[in-house]
Amino acid sequence: MLTENLKIIGVVVGTIGLFTLVANSIPQVQSEVPQDLSFGTDVTAAELTASGGLLFGSAGGCTACHGLGTRAPNLLTSNGSEGPIGARCGDRVTGESCKEYLYRAMIEPNVFLVEGYSPIMPDMRRSLSNDQIWALVAYLEAQGGEVTVTGADINQEGEGEAQTTMAAAPVPAGPTSDATDPLEILRANACLGCHVLSGEGAPIGPGFDGIGGRVSADYIRESILKPSVAAAEGYEAFAGLMPAIYANQLTAGQLENVVMFLAELR
């Protein structure tokens, strides 16, 4: 009786064990949740905010100006007594809700300027996708306010002025433009947002005029690809401000064009 029972248990457990073993002996593939920033219409506020938070500190390059020094308003802390950006965004422009204002501030940054700041912010559509911009808007809204961005905002098409201009915006991943003229490349990638060239652009980073006389071409190339490796003299405080995104945004040809162009500015 006991022998039979043990044998039965042995057969049952052995069979189950065999199946488990076979299923575990093949290479294991897990179906990951897609991490790409393409939100369905059902996206939750939490998802948007989380993605936006990541963008804010990395590919968005926002911290380069917002949050440090006096270049741009600090978004995460109370700018004076107004509270963080989520609390004050709704009152910036009359008639524009918080998200409308923030979205517009991303795509047409210099239309409404906060008093005391220069028009130096680039159009974020140059470096971010529509979904990414909306994720950033959600993140900013969450700083002291309610997230009102929904999937419907992200996926709405052809509605309103902002969206129509959107369609013409360059693609986020990969090269931002297929220009070959170095000056155009510099403009397309918003380099002149921080570096002055012949009076054009904003003086945040070292100016481009005469740069070829100061540093070598290799140094320029490295600085574009890995901006944080070395900071120019006098700009040490701003090390890390320049986003390390240009390896993705420039084609190899464009990079070389720009490097050669700059190296020859003596």
Binding site: G17, I26, T41
Partner: protein, 608 residues
């Protein structure tokens, strides 16, 4: 106007969050008032935002907790739904054939049913409580759509329970004449309630797989048309697939029960009875298994039709290896099932004349299993891949595609059916004068079916995929037609046949009984695996492309992990089932003298 509505909705959300959870219900009432102003998508956001979306289960996590609860509940439910079907048939055979042995068998089935029934209910309760506590957001969403059917479900469950009690406890009371017929009707009724209960539950889970096309993430759950959600694209295929699978599963578990009782039996009478019961269980399981692939094919096709991407994920994506494991399990089923039949021939006088042929059938089966389980993409290290010129073997790759597999599995089905036929024919000598012609016609049908299967299998390589898919239907139809044709001829041919001697029930080597255990375990494991497949193809969606899984368990686990969870479910199920059957055995001991001895004496008279 739209902005006004949006603004109204927004303020309500703020209100709710400020109130905190204690004020959730009043807040919900406010939503109700606000709902006439707010747009549907805001409404959904509101109704789901008020509750926390996910709970957390200690140690194993929410996913495994809900997984095990659902799977074990389903295993018990499948048993409880499958067994009444053949209990009623067995009772009918007893009534019409006048053989009280079948009546006793039906009653024994029902006793197993009775004890498994409460376990089903308990696990059902565990499942729903876990769903409410661990996935409140999804639960709320589903109740919004399905609330009415949930009430009906409870009512039907209530009816089912009482019908079952009446059916079992009234067995000896309503044993003769018209009362027996009333009793049998109760059995039918029991099946109707059970099937209705399953259909309702199926609608909930198939909605999660294939919500109607007009339901988008913005659709408020209250706005979903009930009937279109209920009778969604995969509902009927799942219903059919599950009905058949329940019969298979019920038969396999009954077979394992009989095998256990056989092995621990002390008397020859008991052994004879449980040998016979195991044979019946196995017959039911294998018989229903033969038609199961067709139902599975119908389901797969509906999934493809519903969403091509879902279909490809299922068959070719990260789940493609699951079908190799499934093929392995089905290979085990075929081999173990046939093995049981062949060993069983040892107790049939007259079966000796067929025994030399089993080895050829074995060769067909082994080759079939090899082809059936040949992976399309092979696991190989880099040198092997280089030598083969890719992960696609230049020669064996031909066997890895659907044409070859369909051909293999159809030939395996035919072979298994042939085993049954020989088994059936073994101890009888037909007396009708057309016996020889009949046998030749049967043989011709087998040959014809094999030729059709092989022809379409080979021809499938030379036509586009869209045409090839249709070929499997021809193969299947040829096999089905042969099965029906041959069994019809056989029934008439063996009418009034002479016996070559009584089947020596009980004279079965114990190793055959272990085959029954392997069958039961494999069926159970296979159900667990298919449950994972059905649920896993939704990937990171609760409701496919409508409600997204935003929990930390959104990723669909790899097969090895799934296998461990499935094994745990199967172990839990078998432990509980053994315990329950042991309890049933305790209760039986009191009435043993009357019940078993009658069954045993009648069964030793043998069948012819």
């Amino acid at each position: 106007m739209a902005t006004l509505a949006a603004a109204t909705g927004k303020r309500k959300i703020k209100l709710n969050q400020n109130c905190g959870r204690s004020l959730f219900w009043p807040a919900l009432a406010v939503f109700g008032i606000a709902s006439q102003f707010a747009s549907p998508d805001l409404l959904l956001a509101q109704s789901l935002e008020g509750v926390r979306q996910y709970g957390e289960f200690p140690l194993v996590g929410s996913r495994v907790a809900i997984w095990v609860a659902a799977q074990v509940h389903l295993l018990f439910a499948a048993f409880v739904l499958g067994v009444p079907m053949f209990a009623v048939v067995a009772e009918a055979v007893g009534i019409f054939g006048g053989d009280s042995k079948y009546d006793k068998l039906a009653k024994e089935f029902t006793r197993l049913l009775l004890v498994a029934y409460s376990a089903t209910a308990i696990w059902g309760a565990i499942l729903s409580f876990l769903l409410v506590t661990l996935y409140p957001g999804l639960w709320l969403y589903l109740t919004e759509i399905f609330q009415v059917s949930m009430w009906i479900y409870v009512c039907l469950f209530f009816f089912e329970s009482f019908t079952l009690y009446l059916y079992y406890y009234g067995w000896d009371l309503w044993n003769t004449g018209r009362a027996k017929w009333v009793h049998w009707t109760l059995g039918i009724l029991l099946n109707i309630w059970g099937t209705a209960v399953m259909f309702i539950a199926n609608s909930w889970l198939t909605y999660m797989m294939s919500p109607p096309a007009d339901v988008t993430p913005d659709t408020a759950p209250g706005m979903v048309q009930f009937w279109s959600a209920f009778a969604n694209a995969t509902w009927m295929p799942i219903n059919i697939h599950r009905i058949i699978a329940n019969v298979v599963f019920g038969g396999a578990i009954v077979g394992a029960y009989a095998a256990y009782r056989f092995l621990v039996a002390r008397t020859d009478e008991e052994r004879a009875h449980y040998d016979w019961m195991g044979y019946i269980g196995n017959l039911i399981a294998m018989g229903a298994l033969i038609i199961l692939p067709f139902a599975g094919y119908y389901l797969g096709r509906e999934i493809y039709e519903f969403n091509q991407q879902m279909g490809i994920t299922m068959m070719g994506g990260f789940m493609s290896w699951l079908w190799i494991i499934q093929a392995f399990l089905i290979g085990v089923l075929f081999l173990a099932g046939n093995y049981y039949l062949w060993v069983g021939m040892g107790r049939i006088p007259g079966a000796e004349r067929f025994m030399p042929y089993t080895k050829y059938m074995l060769v067909v089966l082994v080759l079939g299993v090899m082809v059936w389980a040949t992976p399309n993409t092979m696991i190989a290290d880099r040198e092997e891949i280089a030598a083969m010129g890719g992960t696609h073997h230049p020669f064996l790759g031909v066997l890895g595609v659907m044409s070859a597999k369909n051909t293999a599995v159809n030939l395996m089905i035919l072979t298994t059916f042939l085993s049954f036929l020989l088994y059936r024919r073994a101890n009888s000598r037909p007396t009708v004068d057309w016996a020889r012609t009949g046998t030749i016609v049967q043989g011709a049908l087998f040959v014809l079916a094999s030729l059709i299967v092989v022809f379409y299998g080979v021809y499938g390589y030379f036509v586009p995929a869209i045409v090839r898919i249709g070929f499997s239907v021809y193969q299947v139809l040829a096999v089905l037609a042969t099965i029906i044709g041959v069994i019809t001829i056989d029934v008439f041919m063996l009418r009034g046949a002479e016996s070559r001697g009584d089947i020596r029930w009980g004279q079965m080597p114990p190793r055959s009984q272990y085959a029954l255990f392997i069958l039961a375990v494999t069926f159970t494991w296979l159900m667990g695996l298919m449950g994972f497949a059905r649920s896993g193809i939704r990937q990171h969606w609760h409701v496919w492309e409508v409600v997204r899984d935003t929990s930390e368990y959104a990723a669909t686990p790899a097969l090895g992990y799934a296998a461990i969870v499935i094994s745990c479910c199967v172990l839990i199920f078998f432990t509980l089932v053994s315990f329950i059957f042991w309890l049933g055995g305790l209760a039986e001991k009191g009435t043993k003298a009357s019940a078993d001895s009658v069954a045993a004496t009648s069964s030793t008279q043998g069948v012819s």
